[in-house]
Protein backbone atom coordinates (compact mmCIF):
# COMPACT_ATOMS: atom_id res chain seq x y z
CA UNK A 1 0.00 0.00 0.00
CA UNK A 2 2.87 2.33 0.69
CA UNK A 3 4.81 1.94 -2.48
CA UNK A 4 5.79 5.58 -2.67
CA UNK A 5 9.05 6.80 -1.28
CA UNK A 6 7.94 8.28 2.02
CA UNK A 7 9.36 5.39 3.96
CA UNK A 8 11.11 7.58 6.52
CA UNK A 9 7.88 9.17 7.59
CA UNK A 10 6.19 5.81 7.58
CA UNK A 11 8.88 4.40 9.87
CA UNK A 12 8.57 7.40 12.17
CA UNK A 13 4.83 6.99 12.43
CA UNK A 14 5.22 3.29 13.05
CA UNK A 15 7.59 3.97 15.92
CA UNK A 16 5.24 6.60 17.33
CA UNK A 17 2.27 4.22 17.21
CA UNK A 18 4.21 1.38 18.81
CA UNK A 19 5.25 3.67 21.65
CA UNK A 20 1.73 4.96 22.12
CA UNK A 21 0.32 1.44 22.04
CA UNK A 22 2.71 0.43 24.77
CA UNK A 23 2.12 3.48 26.93
CA UNK A 24 -1.63 3.94 26.52
CA UNK A 25 -3.31 0.75 25.36
CA UNK A 26 -2.92 -1.16 28.67
CA UNK A 27 -4.95 1.49 30.53
CA UNK A 28 -7.65 1.49 27.84
CA UNK A 29 -7.83 -2.30 27.78
CA UNK A 30 -8.03 -2.47 31.57
CA UNK A 31 -10.84 0.05 31.63
CA UNK A 32 -12.85 -1.58 28.85
CA UNK A 33 -12.27 -5.05 30.31
CA UNK A 34 -13.38 -4.02 33.77
CA UNK A 35 -16.63 -2.62 32.41
CA UNK A 36 -17.35 -5.84 30.56
CA UNK A 37 -16.17 -4.85 27.09
CA UNK A 38 -14.18 -7.04 24.73
CA UNK A 39 -10.67 -6.96 23.37
CA UNK A 40 -11.98 -6.02 19.94
CA UNK A 41 -13.94 -3.11 21.38
CA UNK A 42 -10.85 -1.84 23.16
CA UNK A 43 -8.84 -2.19 19.97
CA UNK A 44 -11.51 -0.42 17.95
CA UNK A 45 -11.78 2.65 20.17
CA UNK A 46 -8.05 2.84 20.73
CA UNK A 47 -7.32 2.88 17.01
CA UNK A 48 -9.90 5.61 16.48
CA UNK A 49 -8.34 7.56 19.33
CA UNK A 50 -4.96 7.26 17.62
CA UNK A 51 -6.44 8.80 14.46
CA UNK A 52 -7.90 11.69 16.48
CA UNK A 53 -4.57 12.13 18.23
CA UNK A 54 -2.60 12.07 14.97
CA UNK A 55 -4.83 14.70 13.41
CA UNK A 56 -4.38 16.89 16.45
CA UNK A 57 -0.61 16.80 16.62
CA UNK A 58 0.22 16.63 12.92
CA UNK A 59 2.20 19.50 11.47
CA UNK A 60 2.96 21.06 14.83
CA UNK A 61 4.93 20.13 17.91
CA UNK A 62 2.62 18.50 20.39
CA UNK A 63 0.99 21.04 22.65
CA UNK A 64 -0.40 18.32 24.86
CA UNK A 65 1.03 18.06 28.33
CA UNK A 66 0.50 14.36 28.50
CA UNK A 67 -0.06 12.50 25.28
CA UNK A 68 -0.77 9.20 26.96
CA UNK A 69 -3.45 10.64 29.23
CA UNK A 70 -5.02 12.42 26.28
CA UNK A 71 -5.19 9.23 24.24
CA UNK A 72 -6.57 7.18 27.10
CA UNK A 73 -9.19 9.86 27.75
CA UNK A 74 -10.37 9.88 24.13
CA UNK A 75 -10.50 6.10 23.93
CA UNK A 76 -12.49 5.77 27.16
CA UNK A 77 -15.00 8.32 26.00
CA UNK A 78 -15.37 6.70 22.62
CA UNK A 79 -15.98 3.36 24.29
CA UNK A 80 -18.60 4.78 26.63
CA UNK A 81 -20.37 6.44 23.78
CA UNK A 82 -20.26 3.52 21.45
CA UNK A 83 -20.71 0.50 23.68
CA UNK A 84 -22.01 1.74 26.96
CA UNK A 85 -24.59 4.38 26.16
CA UNK A 86 -26.27 4.13 29.54
CA UNK A 87 -23.24 5.54 31.29
CA UNK A 88 -23.89 8.77 33.14
CA UNK A 89 -20.65 10.38 32.43
CA UNK A 90 -20.42 11.17 28.73
CA UNK A 91 -18.64 14.44 28.92
CA UNK A 92 -16.04 15.64 26.45
CA UNK A 93 -18.88 16.42 24.01
CA UNK A 94 -18.54 15.37 20.42
CA UNK A 95 -15.05 14.58 19.34
CA UNK A 96 -14.35 15.00 15.69
CA UNK A 97 -15.00 11.37 15.04
CA UNK A 98 -12.93 9.88 12.28
CA UNK A 99 -15.83 8.05 10.75
CA UNK A 100 -17.28 9.73 7.72
CA UNK A 101 -20.90 8.96 7.01
CA UNK A 102 -20.32 8.85 3.30
CA UNK A 103 -17.51 6.41 3.65
CA UNK A 104 -19.64 3.32 3.43
CA UNK A 105 -21.76 4.06 0.38
CA UNK A 106 -21.00 1.64 -2.45
CA UNK A 107 -20.30 4.34 -5.02
CA UNK A 108 -17.99 6.07 -2.61
CA UNK A 109 -16.10 2.84 -2.11
CA UNK A 110 -15.86 2.35 -5.86
CA UNK A 111 -14.49 5.83 -6.27
CA UNK A 112 -11.97 5.30 -3.48
CA UNK A 113 -10.92 2.04 -5.05
CA UNK A 114 -10.47 3.79 -8.38
CA UNK A 115 -8.41 6.61 -6.87
CA UNK A 116 -6.28 4.02 -5.09
CA UNK A 117 -5.48 2.26 -8.32
CA UNK A 118 -5.40 4.96 -10.94
CA UNK A 119 -4.21 7.94 -8.99
CA UNK A 120 -2.12 6.62 -6.16
CA UNK A 121 0.86 8.85 -6.67
CA UNK A 122 -1.32 11.94 -6.75
CA UNK A 123 -3.30 10.80 -3.72
CA UNK A 124 -0.10 10.19 -1.78
CA UNK A 125 1.21 13.61 -2.73
CA UNK A 126 -2.05 15.28 -1.70
CA UNK A 127 -2.12 13.28 1.53
CA UNK A 128 1.42 14.39 2.38
CA UNK A 129 0.47 18.00 1.88
CA UNK A 130 -3.05 18.27 3.29
CA UNK A 131 -3.22 15.48 5.84
CA UNK A 132 0.33 14.87 7.01
CA UNK A 133 1.08 18.57 6.53
CA UNK A 134 4.65 18.03 5.45
CA UNK A 135 6.54 21.12 4.34
CA UNK A 136 6.82 21.48 0.57
CA UNK A 137 10.58 21.10 0.51
CA UNK A 138 10.25 17.70 2.16
CA UNK A 139 7.50 16.74 -0.24
CA UNK A 140 9.69 17.80 -3.17
CA UNK A 141 12.49 15.64 -1.86
CA UNK A 142 10.37 12.60 -1.16
CA UNK A 143 8.50 12.66 -4.43
CA UNK A 144 11.51 13.57 -6.51
CA UNK A 145 10.60 17.07 -7.66
CA UNK A 146 13.29 19.61 -8.39
CA UNK A 147 12.14 22.08 -5.78
CA UNK A 148 9.36 23.75 -3.87
CA UNK A 149 7.91 25.47 -6.90
CA UNK A 150 7.80 22.30 -8.92
CA UNK A 151 6.16 20.46 -6.02
CA UNK A 152 3.59 23.26 -5.69
CA UNK A 153 2.67 23.10 -9.37
CA UNK A 154 2.45 19.34 -9.16
CA UNK A 155 0.22 19.53 -6.12
CA UNK A 156 -2.26 21.72 -7.96
CA UNK A 157 -2.07 19.56 -11.06
CA UNK A 158 -2.90 16.56 -8.91
CA UNK A 159 -5.72 18.42 -7.23
CA UNK A 160 -7.17 19.23 -10.65
CA UNK A 161 -6.74 15.68 -11.86
CA UNK A 162 -8.45 14.19 -8.83
CA UNK A 163 -11.17 16.85 -8.98
CA UNK A 164 -11.92 15.95 -12.59
CA UNK A 165 -11.88 12.23 -11.77
CA UNK A 166 -14.29 12.67 -8.89
CA UNK A 167 -16.62 14.76 -11.00
CA UNK A 168 -16.56 12.30 -13.87
CA UNK A 169 -17.06 9.24 -11.66
CA UNK A 170 -19.66 10.91 -9.49
CA UNK A 171 -21.74 11.78 -12.51
CA UNK A 172 -21.31 8.25 -13.82
CA UNK A 173 -22.25 6.58 -10.52
CA UNK A 174 -25.15 8.92 -10.02
CA UNK A 175 -25.72 8.44 -6.34
CA UNK A 176 -22.34 9.54 -5.10
CA UNK A 177 -22.51 12.19 -2.38
CA UNK A 178 -26.06 13.56 -2.33
Amino acid sequence: MHSISNTDKLAQRQELFINLYKSAFPAVAKYVGRLGGSFDEAKDVFQDALVVYYEKIVGQPSTLHNDTAYLVGIAKNLWLKRYHQSAQNISLTDLDMPSDEQEESPSNNRLMHFLNKAGQKCMELLKSFYYDQLPLHEIAEEFGYSGVRSATVQKYKCLEKVRETIKEKALAYGDFME
Partner: protein
Protein backbone atom coordinates in the same frame (compact mmCIF):
# COMPACT_ATOMS: atom_id res chain seq x y z
CA UNK B 1 -5.01 34.20 -14.59
CA UNK B 2 -2.58 32.63 -16.99
CA UNK B 3 -2.52 29.02 -15.89
CA UNK B 4 -5.23 26.69 -14.72
CA UNK B 5 -3.46 25.84 -11.49
CA UNK B 6 -3.54 29.52 -10.69
CA UNK B 7 -7.31 29.31 -10.68
CA UNK B 8 -7.20 26.11 -8.66
CA UNK B 9 -4.98 27.91 -6.17
CA UNK B 10 -7.49 30.74 -5.89
CA UNK B 11 -10.32 28.30 -5.31
CA UNK B 12 -8.24 26.66 -2.61
CA UNK B 13 -7.51 29.95 -0.87
CA UNK B 14 -11.20 30.75 -0.73
CA UNK B 15 -12.27 27.26 0.37
CA UNK B 16 -9.60 26.95 3.03
CA UNK B 17 -10.12 30.50 4.22
CA UNK B 18 -6.62 31.74 3.48
CA UNK B 19 -7.58 34.31 0.81
CA UNK B 20 -7.16 38.02 1.47
CA UNK B 21 -10.54 39.70 2.06
CA UNK B 22 -10.24 41.70 -1.18
CA UNK B 23 -9.42 38.61 -3.22
CA UNK B 24 -12.25 36.69 -1.64
CA UNK B 25 -14.69 39.44 -2.55
CA UNK B 26 -13.48 39.54 -6.12
CA UNK B 27 -13.78 35.79 -6.29
CA UNK B 28 -17.36 35.91 -5.02
CA UNK B 29 -18.22 38.28 -7.83
CA UNK B 30 -16.62 36.08 -10.44
CA UNK B 31 -18.43 33.10 -9.00
CA UNK B 32 -21.81 34.69 -9.62
CA UNK B 33 -21.01 35.25 -13.27
CA UNK B 34 -19.27 32.00 -14.03
CA UNK B 35 -21.11 28.71 -13.69
CA UNK B 36 -18.11 26.71 -14.72
CA UNK B 37 -16.13 28.21 -11.88
CA UNK B 38 -18.91 27.45 -9.42
CA UNK B 39 -18.85 23.87 -10.63
CA UNK B 40 -15.11 23.64 -10.04
CA UNK B 41 -15.49 25.03 -6.54
CA UNK B 42 -18.07 22.38 -5.69
CA UNK B 43 -15.95 19.49 -6.96
CA UNK B 44 -12.82 20.85 -5.39
CA UNK B 45 -14.55 20.89 -2.03
CA UNK B 46 -15.47 17.24 -2.47
CA UNK B 47 -11.89 16.55 -3.47
CA UNK B 48 -10.61 17.76 -0.09
CA UNK B 49 -13.13 15.51 1.62
CA UNK B 50 -11.94 12.57 -0.47
CA UNK B 51 -8.29 13.31 0.32
CA UNK B 52 -9.10 13.28 4.02
CA UNK B 53 -10.98 10.04 3.72
CA UNK B 54 -8.22 8.44 1.68
CA UNK B 55 -5.61 9.62 4.19
CA UNK B 56 -7.55 8.28 7.16
CA UNK B 57 -7.84 4.90 5.52
CA UNK B 58 -4.10 4.81 4.93
CA UNK B 59 -3.44 5.84 8.51
CA UNK B 60 -5.81 3.19 9.86
CA UNK B 61 -4.04 0.59 7.77
CA UNK B 62 -0.73 1.68 9.28
CA UNK B 63 -2.17 1.48 12.79
CA UNK B 64 -3.62 -1.96 12.12
CA UNK B 65 -0.21 -3.13 10.89
CA UNK B 66 1.30 -1.95 14.17
CA UNK B 67 -1.42 -3.76 16.08
CA UNK B 68 -0.73 -7.01 14.22
CA UNK B 69 2.94 -6.62 14.86
CA UNK B 70 2.42 -6.14 18.60
CA UNK B 71 -0.01 -9.02 18.95
CA UNK B 72 1.69 -11.62 16.78
CA UNK B 73 5.44 -11.11 17.03
CA UNK B 74 7.29 -12.99 19.78
CA UNK B 75 9.38 -9.97 20.76
CA UNK B 76 6.22 -8.27 22.00
CA UNK B 77 4.72 -11.34 23.67
CA UNK B 78 4.95 -10.05 27.24
CA UNK B 79 3.00 -6.96 26.20
CA UNK B 80 0.35 -8.88 24.29
CA UNK B 81 -0.08 -11.46 27.07
CA UNK B 82 -0.55 -8.73 29.62
CA UNK B 83 -3.33 -7.23 27.52
CA UNK B 84 -5.00 -10.55 26.73
CA UNK B 85 -5.15 -11.43 30.40
CA UNK B 86 -7.39 -8.45 31.00
CA UNK B 87 -10.08 -10.13 28.94
CA UNK B 88 -9.62 -13.79 29.77
CA UNK B 89 -11.33 -13.83 33.16
CA UNK B 90 -14.87 -13.77 31.86
Amino acid sequence: MATSWNETQQIEAVLLGTAQPGDALLFETKLMLDNELADKVMWQQKTYAMIKQYSRRQLRAEIEAVHQQLFTQPEHSSFSQKIRQLFSKR
